[in-house]
Every structure is written in C-alpha cells, then in structure tokens.
C-alpha cells in the first residue's frame, strides 16, 4: 500500500520533526538515511502512532490514519535491538500477532516465513539463547506474520556482525519481493541503501533534506549536507562481465568478479589526472574532457566527462598549478582496479 505523510511535525524535546512530506509508493523499498540524532526513528514511531503529532496527516492508500490507534494501522515495526518477547519461545514470538489479526492465511504465512528465514530448528528456543542474526530473523518473521501493509525497519542490520549482515540483506530482499509490503528502512549505511532500496530520503535535524531515487541522491545531492553525507562521488550503474564493468561504452577493470548488475564507486582522491595516457596492466585509463573546476581552498575538484560519465577527481593546489586544467581541455582519467568499490 502507499503511504503519504503531509506536513508532519513532532516535538519530543530532544527530538523534533518539522514539515515532513513523504510519499511511499505501493511495494516501495524506501531508505531513510541521515546522521545519528536526525530524527529517523522518531519518524518511524510517528508512523506507527507511538508519538504524539503537533500537526500533519498520515494516509495509507488515501485512508487517513492520523488518529488511528497503533494496533489498527497495519504497520509493523522491526527495531535494531530486535525487541523480541523474552518470555516467549521463537514460535510464540512469531505467532504473537496472529490472535489479534484473525485472517485466514495467518498460519500459512507463519509456515512460509519460518522456511524462508530458515528458523525451523529454533522454534522452541527462547530469544536469550539466539545469536544476533537469528534474533533479527525472528523479529522479521514476527513482523511479517500479520501480513502488514507496511513494514518499518529501524537500522535492521547495524547491530549485526558483517557476515550476518550480508545474509540478512539477502533475506530482506527476498522478503520484500515475497510479501509485497511497502518497506521503509532506516539506515546510515549507503551501500545497504543502494543494494536494497529504490528510493530514499536524507534527513537532518528533523527535516527531510532530499527525497528521490537512490541514484539521484547519490549523484545529484541538492544540499551541501546531503553531499557531505553521501560522501562518495563517482557512482556509476554498471553491468558486470567477468572482472570488468561496462557503463557508457567503457570497460572498467574492477579486479574481482561480481553479479550481473550493480554499482561501482570510486573515491575522487583515487583518480589520477594526466595529459598523456598512463600505461599499466592494473590501471583503467580513459580519455575525457574537463567540464567543471571547483576550488576548495586546499584542493580542487575537477569534473571530467568520459562519454556520458562524469568523473570527479580531487587534486592538490600544487598539482593544479602543474596541470593548469581549463574547462574543455582533454585529460586522461586513470585509476587502479583495486580503487573501484563494488556496491
């Protein structure tokens, strides 16, 4: 189902939200990003109906739910710390919501979730005896067992060990496709957002700085805060074949093999600009032309267009005066295969 938030404002003293306008499309996987203390979790709790609103309206499929009790909204929430009921077994945790949601598919949904999330061997255990990854899978199963229209995820992966994180990320993707629910995930990890979400918003100090498609936020930040937050420039959508990535007619060596499609990112300081091509077996070197030059005091940012890709390089003042680039000049952009981050 779609969600629409209009002019929402919350004041909790330490946390406040202002002028929040947001639309989630049906079946969306939406990432809500921002630094710690930005108010992301408060927005989730406002959607569930757990914090009082000063103003604003919330709609689900054009049905106003602003004044509805949390239990009547059809919105499930999964917390970072899992919040499993410690006095109930895994199975009782998962089935918890069923008695309040007497729909026919309940038991079937539970069985499906248990096999999808590989929880079959844990059903009789108590949460205190589970690993972090297992607990988070139980929390997901519990939230989805009631077939919610919308699932809110509050940093679902950040408390997990890196290897569990990969695993759960894959599970999230499967669950999103299988459940058909609209997912809203809070995260501060960009690669997480990129690999899961289609659309995203960046929040800062209780205000939404930018809302849009995830690549757009990455490539075209509209405020300096978003640009800083996003950090990594040179993000390209690519097709992989073997250990090369293809984009805009370029064959970029990435050093390792990857799945069929995805993103690559290169830090601006890892790009080398030169007037002559650099010849080396591990390096990528492409001819392009300078399209923009920005001075930042101690360093310069140079945008170089190669076919339809814009590479942004950072060079020192010293290098700048050696190269003396001007807009329109031809330059080679070079970088090592190991400097390419696969997302």
């Amino acid at each position: 189902m779609s969600v629409r938030v209009e002019n929402l404002a919350v004041d909790l003293g330490t946390f406040h939200l202002q002028n929040i306008n947001l639309t989630l499309k049906e079946g969306d996987f939406f990432a809500l990003m921002g630094p710690t203390g930005a108010g992301k979790s408060v927005l989730l709790e406002a959607l569930v109906g757990l914090v009082p609103l000063i103003s604003g309206e919330i709609f689900i499929d054009e049905r106003k739910i602003t004044n509805l009790a949390p239990e009547k909204r059809g919105i499930s929430i999964v917390y970072q710390d899992y919040a499993l009921f410690p006095h109930l077994t895994v199975l009782d945790n998962i089935r918890y919501g069923l008695r309040f949601n007497p729909f026919k598919r309940g038991e079937v949904a539970v069985d499906e979730l248990i096999s999808l999330l590989e929880l079959g061997h844990l059903l009789k255990r108590y949460p205190a005896t589970l690993s972090g990854g297992e607990q988070q899978r139980v929390a997901l199963a519990r939230a989805l067992a009631v077939s919610p229209d919308i699932l809110l995820l509050d940093e679902p992966l950040s408390a997990l060990d890196p290897n569990f994180r990969q695993d759960l990320r894959a599970h999230l993707k499967t669950l999103h496709q299988a459940s058909g629910a609209t997912f809203l995930m809070v995260t501060h990890d960009f690669s997480e957002a990129l690999s899961l979400a289609q659309r995203a918003a960046v929040m800062n100090q209780g205000v939404l700085e930018q809302v849009g498609a995830i690549e757009e936020i990455f490539c075209r930040p509209t405020t300096t805060m978003v640009a800083d937050f996003v950090g990594m420039k040179n993000l390209f959508k690519v097709k992989f074949s073997g250990s090369t990535a293809q984009a805009a007619g370029l064959e970029i060596k990435v050093g390792k093999e990857s799945r069929a499609q995805g993103y690559i990112a290169i830090r601006p300081e890892d790009l080398i600009l030169s007037k002559e091509p650099l010849i080396s077996s591990v390096q990528n070197s492409f001819a392009g032309s300078v399209v923009a030059i920005r001075s930042h005091g101690f360093f310069y940012e140079i945008d170089v267009a190669v076919n339809s890709l814009i590479f942004t390089a950072v060079i020192t003042n010293h290098a700048f005066f050696d190269l003396e680039p001007t807009v329109g000049d031809g330059f080679f952009v070079s970088f090592k295969a190991t400097a390419v981050h696969l997302l």
């Binding site: 919040a83 410690p86 918890y96």
Partner: protein
C-alpha cells in the same frame, strides 16, 4: 601485600551490622524451649491471632495488587505535571509515625465523622474488626508494593510494548501479554514486601482494632501481663509461619520464570 585500611574498616563494620541484625533474632528464636513452643501453638488464642495476622496481611497485599498495579504502571511509564507530588503522596505512609496513621484513619471511620456514621448505619463495622485491620495494613503496605511494581514495569523496555501494539494488540492486551508477565517477578516481590510490612504493623492497628487481636498485639499484651518469656514463643511462631509463607510464594511464583530466561526481562535498549 598490605590491604587498604579502608577495606578492613568496611569489612569490620559490615560484620557488626550483620551481627546486629542476626544476634537478637537468633537469641529470641533459641530462647523458648520446644515444649513451650508446642504449648503455645495449642493455645487457641495464639493460633487464632496468627491466622488473623496472616489472612488480613494477605488480603491487604491483594488489595494493593488489584488497586495499586495500574498506578504503578502509570508512574513507571508516563511523565506528567505533578508526578513528583503523586510520588511523594504515595510515600507518605512510610514516613508518617504509625500511631498517627491509626489516629488519621480512626478520624475517618470513627463515630465522629459522617463516613464512619454512614458505615455504621449500613452495618459495616470497621473499628475493632478485621476490616479495620485490613484497611490499616493496606495503608501502610501500599508504598512497598507500588515501589516494587513500578520498578518492575520500568525494567520492561517500552519497545516491547510498541512492537506488541504494532502487531495488533490493544493497550490492555499488550499489558496482559507482555508487560505484566515480564514485570511479574518484581510484582511478586512487591506483594511479599507489602504482606510482610502489613503483618508487622502494630502501632496503627492497636488504635483501630485492639480486638480482635493480631499476633503483634497479642505479643504486646502477653509481654505486658506476663513478661518476656510468654511473648517470645508467639513471636517465634509468627516468624516461622511468615517465612514459610514467603518462601512458598517465591517458589510458586518465581519458579516458572526462571526456566524461561536466564537474564533479566527485556530491559535492553
């Protein structure tokens, strides 16, 4: 290696404190002979008074449980103007001298006040009756129950309640299904504390109800009329019965929880 002198001081004073508590009790428990204990418990006046102490104390604890639980929950969960005042009011029964409590309650239910007269008209006897004893015990026991229950509720993460609500449970269903079971150990402790406090009350009860005699009043009377040797066995019996009661409550109420989770209920944030 030389130990810190402060450590020796701490150990020494701890020892003194423990002795100060245990020695008088041990002395009293060991004073009566077995035959005098046996004789005492066969005395109808004694076992009637112990039974009266027990059932009025348990009734008071149950009343505190029924009426105090919602207040304890509110105090643990919500912030409101005047919360500090409410908390201070709740603690009043602890700080007020016991005879003052008796006098205050007597002023309410005695013949000199309309409430007392109305109740007398209706045939409800408070003064000099078990009902009066239960009323006093509830008054003095409430703070102990409220404090323990409040702490129990506060230790349950609000996130567990939030999740429960988002899964479709109403506020009441959440309380019954999540909050209460997780706070149960503290609640049980509160019931036991409240009950113990109620059974130990003397000063307020002698004012409202000298008769029927609860065990402490009987001890006092035997001490006054016959001396120490005649009140000690009653005291021993009261201690034994109370310890058995509280022990069995702990076993019955706490055993099931222990199996389920090793650590403290859901307080992770």
């Amino acid at each position: 290696m030389r130990k810190e002198s402060f450590l020796w001081f701490a150990l020494g004073s701890s020892f003194i404190v423990l002795l100060f508590i245990t020695v008088p009790l041990l002395r009293m428990v060991s004073a009566p002979t077995l035959s005098s204990l046996w004789e005492t418990i066969r005395d109808p006046e004694v076992y009637r008074s112990i039974w009266l102490s027990l059932y009025t104390g348990i009734s008071a604890a149950l009343i505190c449980f029924v009426f105090g639980t919602p207040l304890a929950y509110l105090l643990a969960r919500s912030e409101f103007h005047g919360k500090k005042i409410v908390e201070a009011i709740v603690d009043l029964p602890i700080v007020i001298p016991h005879p003052v409590v008796g006098i205050a309650l007597l002023g309410l239910v005695g013949k000199n006040f309309w409430l007392g007269r109305v109740m007398q008209e209706l045939g409800v006897r408070i003064v000099g009756s078990p009902a009066g004893i239960i009323m006093v015990m509830t008054f003095v026991g409430l703070p102990f129950y409220l404090q323990a229950a409040k702490e129990g509720f506060a230790s349950v993460s609000p996130r567990l309640e939030h999740v429960s609500r988002s899964l479709g449970a109403s506020m009441f269903a959440t309380f019954v299904g999540v909050t209460f079971p997780l706070a149960w150990r503290s609640i049980l402790s509160g019931i036991i504390m409240c009950c113990a406090r109620a059974i130990s009350e003397f000063g307020a009860i002698v004012i409202i109800a000298y008769h029927p005699m609860i065990a402490p009043v009987l001890m006092f009377e035997r001490f006054q009329s016959f001396g120490l040797r005649y009140s000690q066995p009653v005291a021993v019996w009261l201690i034994v019965v109370c310890l058995l009661l509280f022990l069995s409550l702990r076993l019955v109420g706490g055993g099931a929880q222990k199996v389920r989770s090793g650590r403290r209920a859901g307080s992770r944030v």
